[in-house]
Symmetry: C2
Subunit: 144 residues, 2 copies
DNA sequence: CGGTATCCGTGCGGATACTG
DNA sequence: CAGTATCCGCACGGATACCG
């Protein structure tokens, strides 16, 4: 019951507040669609140049990719190498820190792989029972 | 190099496309600020009623909390119990599936705990070197 | 209390045009 | 090619009001 992952409950003038804010801030950075996909891409394909990255991370716009990469670079998760040639060539790769994070993210992916069918089923059931009977729905379970 | 977490590159008329879309969809669900914080809260505190949850998950609005909980319920990660009393009382708790996901998320939290100071330092360095010298920045590293 | 419905601002993110 | 700058729509999310 007391897994003690993160408890945002004590943020009122708590000496640990700053620390917690930072942690939460970092999590909110990481918990981002493009961030995860970019880290993943760099993990599976290794060092890549900007344009390739844009292909691999399907659907990302130039703007978002740039922004995401800057963010990652700032956080020390990714390095950026600019080759002094024209036309420009910029390579990105994960830092050791980035790779260690990738491990954790892979953990999530693996979890998804294993449980996605389970979740898909749960969704179908939920959507099916949901006949828009609003007040006191079927799924309501009386207890006491 | 070939960690094989997720590769979004092959989504053009690939027979596996549907599966990958589902996986990505699920990830994008999970990779959400409030989703993570709510799962975490339910993990650390166990079963909780709506109003308590709203206190614990600091800063969440009623609307977002409701939406997030519905999402989680639909995905089979959270159960919702409505006590037939007035005023209403609704308790939420993680399902076994939800708890197994929590484990993975805790992995991320632990990682953050360990590396947050490192990242904070990286940020400061990055921000410091960034004197808005735009073309050919100091951090550009010539290679060939 | 635990919602849903409605209104509404703003900021995320796409599209486009331009530069070194 | 790898950006930056600008414009802009729209969806996300907060605030408010109301209901069972």
């Amino acid at each position: 019951m007391e897994t003690n992952c993160y408890d945002g409950a004590y943020a009122h003038d708590n000496p640990q507040k700053k620390t917690d804010d930072l942690a939460r801030n970092i999590i909110e950075q990481i918990a981002d669609k493009w961030t995860i996909l970019v880290i993943d891409a760099l993990g599976t394909h290794g060092e890549m140049r900007f344009s390739r990255l844009r292909e691999v991370v399907e659907g990302v716009s130039q703007k978002m990719l740039t922004k995401t990469l800057r963010q990652l670079e700032r956080d020390g998760l990714v390095t950026r190498y600019v080759h002094p040639v024209i036309p420009p060539r910029v390579d990105y790769q994960l830092t050791p820190l980035g790779r260690s994070l990738l491990d954790k993210i892979c953990g999530i992916w693996d979890w998804v792989e294993v449980h996605m069918s389970e979740m898909e089923l749960a969704r179908r059931e939920f959507d099916h029972g949901e006949k828009r009977v609003d007040h006191l729905r079927p799924r309501d379970v009386p207890i006491a």
